[in-house]
Each structure stands twice: as C-alpha cells, then as structure tokens.
C-alpha cells in the first residue's frame, strides 16, 4: 500500500505543478509513502516542516484556498488532534461559511488504527469524528489498488479530503495498477461477493473480513464483503443493495464502538433496509477504551477475526 501511495504522489506531482507535499520528515519519509519525491520534484515542492501542526494545517487550508493543491502528511492520525482547529473549523467550514466562494483542493494524509503497539496516542481511528464534521471527504483505502486510485482522486478533488491509510497492512491484497488508475470518491467496492451475510469492513478490517469470509466458506456460509472505501460521501446504495440481497449485516470497524462509523452504518441499514433484515445487525468495533500498548491488551480491545466470526455466525443462527 505504501508503494501504491508513493506512485500516486509521484504521478500527481508530475501531472500538476500546483501539487506540493508538506509535512514532518516528508523528504526522508518514515513510512516510505513520500520517499523519492524530494529528489524528483525538489525541496520547493516537497517541504520538510517543523513540528507545528496547528500552523501546517491552517497553512494547508490557506494555500489550497489561494491556488495550490497541497498534500499535508500529518504522520499519525492522532496528530490530527493537534491540527484540529484548521481541520474542523477551517477546512470543514470555510467553503460553506463563505457561501461557496472558497474551494480547498487539499489532502490531509495520515496512518490510522492500532495493532502495532504504538500506544494510545498513535493508534486511534478517528474517521467517524471526521465524517461527523460534514465538510470533509474521508477515504480509508484497504488495498494497494484502492490506495493509489483514491489518492489520485483525492488530489484531483477540489474539496478537502482526509486520506487515512492503514500503514503496511494492505500489502497482500492485490497488486498496484500501472499508470492512470483513479478510484472515484464515494463509490464502495464489493471485495467478495456472497449471498448469506453482508460484512461491511473499513480500512484494515477489510483484510480481517476477507479471512473470515474464507473461513466461513468452508462451513458453507457465503459472506459478501463490502468496503465503503469512502466514508464521506458514503455509498449508501451499494450497502443497502447488498443487505437487501443477503438479509444480514455485520459491520467491522477499528474505530471505537460508541458513536462510531459502525453505528452510523447500522443506523442507515436499520432505516433503509429494515424489512430485508433476517437477523439483528451486529457491530464489531474497538472497545470504548484508549488503545493499550501491550500486544495482548491491544488484541483484547481491537476487533479480532474470532469476534468477527462469532458475530457473523450469530446472524446466521438467528434464522
């Protein structure tokens, strides 16, 4: 996935000189996603910055509003909180507040989610908060192909987009398409067709869902895995159609349970496809605690394949 994002950035920077990459360590690139950009495009367009998230995010908004197409790498998703004013009060609102006078073609990118013993301040999944702001597009690619295509679409979009990547956790889910490969924002993807139960999986949870689907296939249960890919705008019709077909839904999300994206999707399905449901909706999400450090504790908190399998089986047994 890292290589896919790197390719997208290279291609988009070559395509449009207004695209600039800003952030801490973007030249050397600790994740590898911005590696090589400085060598190719120079320090004028790939700018290492000090640790100044409040400014960097505000500056990104101001630069986008005046003609650049900046990509701000905030490193870890939790660092969005230190940039929160510009994200929540400026990027998400300026176009609306000015009656549509401003457009902000910008991308805030960061890795999100846990599972790597990074501790509570480097492991959050904050996508539901971002979705709730209303003025941001939010994408959560799960595969290298989606990562490349969504990044290219995000850079070309005239709106603020938050690109949340599950760093290093999509590698085995396919290859990177060459060249011009754009995945439109707001279009979900059925990652695996099935007929008995819909599993809506977000970000790194797609991989978990694919494994669970494989396991359950051996038991004769046909799982359809749907990856929304973009959480705002959300491709509601694809989710609803899937549930109308299968009659069952489990949502697996690495965000915390309360007021999270799993709850939102569950509510939408309850409203839009209630009559098709043959079992209660199940949510598999992170527990309502900060993400702990120790691997055993972290496993206990984050959605696991075991919990997902149990949830899916419970919807089948409900018949």
């Amino acid at each position: 996935m890292i290589q896919a994002i790197n390719q997208a950035l290279h291609e988009e920077m070559a395509r449009d000189e207004r695209v600039v990459v800003i952030g801490e360590d973007v030249a050397i690139s600790i994740f590898g996603d911005t590696r090589g950009l400085a060598e190719t495009f120079g320090a004028d367009r790939v700018m290492d910055t000090p640790l100044s998230e409040a400014l960097l995010s505000g500056m990104t908004v101001g630069a986008a509003a005046t003609g650049l197409r900046p990509v701000l790498h905030l490193m870890f998703g939790n660092f969005l909180y230190t940039a929160w004013d510009a994200i929540a009060n400026q990027a998400a609102k300026l176009r609306y507040m000015t009656g549509g006078q401003i457009s902000m073609p910008l991308v805030f990118m960061a890795v999100f989610g846990g599972g790597r013993s990074q501790g509570a301040q480097h492991s959050d999944s904050m996508h539901s908060m971002l979705v709730n702001l209303a003025g941001l597009k939010v994408v959560t690619p799960a595969t290298p192909a989606d990562a490349k295509g969504l990044m290219k679409a995000a850079i070309r979009d005239d709106n603020p987009v938050v690109f949340l990547q599950s760093a290093g956790r999509g590698g085995e889910l396919g290859d990177i398409p060459d060249g011009e490969w754009v995945v439109p924002l707001g279009v979900a993807d059925v990652k695996r067709p099935g007929s008995d139960v819909t599993v809506v999986a977000i970000g790194a949870m797609v991989r978990l869902a694919m494994r669970a689907a494989e396991t359950l296939a051996a038991e004769g249960i046909s799982v359809e895995v749907v990856d929304p890919r973009t959480l705002r705008p959300l491709d509601t019709p694809t989710l609803v159609n899937s549930v109308r077909k299968t009659g069952r839904m489990v949502v697996v999300d690495e965000g915390r349970l309360s007021a999270g994206m799993a709850s939102e999707i569950a509510a939408i399905i309850a409203e839009e496809a209630f009559s098709s449901l043959r079992a209660r909706i199940r949510r598999v999400a992170a527990a309502d605690v900060p993400i702990p450090f120790s691997p055993d504790l972290e496993r206990a908190v984050l959605p696991s394949e075991q919990r997902l399998l149990e949830a899916i089986r419970s919807t089948i047994r409900a018949d």
Binding site: A54, L55, M59, T66, P70, M97, T98, G135, D158
Partner: protein, 331 residues
C-alpha cells in the same frame, strides 16, 4: 509631515472616504444589534479604521488578507460592497455569503479577503498558506495576516513566525493591539511588547501608531515591498483602541463596566478619522469637502441597510448547499 506631502491629497481624501464609510456602516450596526434586529453577535472596529484602510492601500490585486472576528473594516477597506456586507450581517439571501457566514465570517474572495474568522489566531495560518501560494505560484504577491493582541497569545503565531522566517514567505503580520482582550486589559494577559515576539526569529518588527493612517501606510508599504522582493516577513504591532465594546450586545450580559469612561474619551481625542481630517485641512482641503464626504458615506451606509432590510431571507433549501464543490474535477 514629509510623508504627508509625498502622498497626494487625492489619495488621502480617498482614505478619508473609505475610513468614514467603515465608521458610518459600523455606527449603524450597533443600534441594530442592540435592538435585536440583527441575529447573532456583532464586533465592530470603530477607532481602528486607519489600520484596515492603511494596510489595504498597500495591497494590490493578487494579494491576500486573512481577517479576524472584527473584520467588517478589513472587508470594506479591501473594496468590499457595503450592501453585500450588511445583507450578510442581516442573514439575508443577498449577503456576500448567502447568509451562511454572518458578521464573524464575511469574506470576499474576489478581492483577496479570505474571510473574517471566528477562531482567534486562525487567520494567521490561512495567511501563511496564502503566502506559500504567492511564493510558489505568484512571486511578487503578498499575504497579510490581521490578528489582535488576543491572537498574539495563540501558539500558531509562534509557529508561523518560525516557518515564515525560515522560508522567507511574503507575509506581513499586522497585530491590531486595541488594548483589550475581550473584557480584560491586554497588559494583564500579555507579557512584554508584542512586536518583540518577532525579534528572535530575525523578523523586522516595530510598533506603529495605528491611529495615524500615514504612519500605518509608511510602515506597511515598506513591509509589503520587502515581501514582494522576496525578503520575507515583517511584524507590525499597530497601537490602537477599540472605542466600542468587544461585542455590541455586551451590556446585556456583563455585570457592569470593565473599563473607565475616561480612558475611552481620551482615545476618542485621537480618533483616526479626525486625525486624518486635521491633516487634510492643513493641506488645504475645505471642511465643506470633508463634510460632503461624511454626508455621502452616510447615504451609502443607509442604502446598504435599506438593501439588507428589503432583501429576502435565504431559501431554507440553500442550507444544504455549498458544503462541497459539486463539479466533478476534470481528469
């Protein structure tokens, strides 16, 4: 005095007209706010007009400015239409933001006015970004960050001083120090001289008499020229005074007076519009000419209010528009 003679009387008269227009508009906003006619809070800049107009006089098309919650003056100084401003403050469909912004968010992108901002200090970030755009795409253009003494205590200022100096961004910091951070005297909240905060970053800085538009123009011109020439940011602290309250409705919720009347009266003796009038009269401009201007801007302000009051409220359906650019970007 040398400067006064260098600036043509016609230019000074133009400034006088613009400052007086801001005053006329804002003097009418106070009563409209207190009577309950206006929805929401209104922060006026009466007494600070020389800064807005003096800074705007140094700017040209292609430049950008970010503003504050006290932004009507910046809006009008940059050439914004008073009708669209007042209609916005009335929440009307004809307002510059279609009624979605209000007093605290008036913006006119067509004139480089990036918007008043309800978050103190946030405009500093936006202007820094505009300066980055200028440096990358439009060398010779500049960005101006307006903020107050309150905003000078936000951490984002420190971050921007560092980065704008490091990258030699074409940015001018304009701190409007009006003596009061909401309801607390600035000096009891703010250590040291604000302009000196730029000193360790090697940013040229200074204090300016913010009620003397000729002084404002002189200092800002120099700062803007430095920025245009690629020599980086400048920090100017404009010493001024807010003769009205923080917010026009404040008497409805404050327990009592928080500043002495004598202080306000003393500053009114240094009213920026009156100071400029004295200067103009000394260069031979007739008092009648100035009185005519006052009459004309009064009528212009009245017309703006009439336009606003007669304008329709927004169609509720528009509340759901303008969140995103809807057009699909071209490949």
């Amino acid at each position: 005095m040398e400067l006064t003679t260098a600036i043509e009387t016609e230019t000074l008269t133009g400034w006088y007209r613009r400052m007086s227009l801001i005053r006329a508009v804002e003097e009418r906003l106070g009563p409209a706010s207190r009577s309950g006619e206006l929805p929401g809070p209104v922060h006026v800049s009466i007494g600070q007009e020389a800064i807005a107009v003096g800074v705007a006089a140094c700017m040209r098309p292609g430049d950008w400015a970010s503003s504050t919650h006290r932004g009507h003056g910046h809006f009008l100084a940059l050439g914004g239409d008073p009708k669209l401003l007042i209609a916005e403050i009335y929440g009307r469909a004809t307002g510059i933001c279609g009624g979605k912004g209000g007093s605290m968010h008036v913006a006119d992108i067509s004139r480089g006015m990036l918007g008043a901002n309800g978050i103190v200090g946030a405009g500093i970030g936006l202007a820094t970004g505009a300066a980055l755009t200028a440096k990358r795409l439009h060398p010779g253009s500049v960005a101006v960050a307006f903020f107050g003494d309150g905003g000078a205590n936000e951490g984002i200022l420190f971050e921007s001083l560092n980065l704008s100096a490091l990258w030699s961004l074409p940015l001018v910091f304009i701190c409007e120090n009006n003596g009061w951070s909401e309801f607390v005297r600035t000096e009891s909240l703010t250590r040291g001289q604000i302009s000196k905060r730029a000193e360790p970053f090697g940013i040229p800085n200074g204090q300016v008499d913010g009620n003397d538009i000729v002084a404002v123009f002189a200092e800002v011109s120099e700062a803007v020229e430095r920025a245009r020439a690629g020599l980086g940011p400048t920090f100017l602290e404009m010493l001024t005074y807010r003769t009205q309250g923080h917010v026009e409705s404040e008497l409805t919720f404050l327990p009592g007076a928080y500043r002495p009347d004598a202080e306000v009266e003393e500053w009114k003796l240094r009213d920026p519009i009156e100071l400029l009038a004295v200067r103009l009269r000394s260069t031979g401009v007739e008092s009648d000419t100035l009185a005519d201007i006052q009459g004309e801007v009064g009528l212009e302000a009245d017309a703006a209010f009439q336009f606003a009051r007669e304008s329709p409220m927004p169609d509720p359906a528009t509340a759901l528009k303008d969140v995103f650019v809807e057009a699909v970007p071209t490949a």
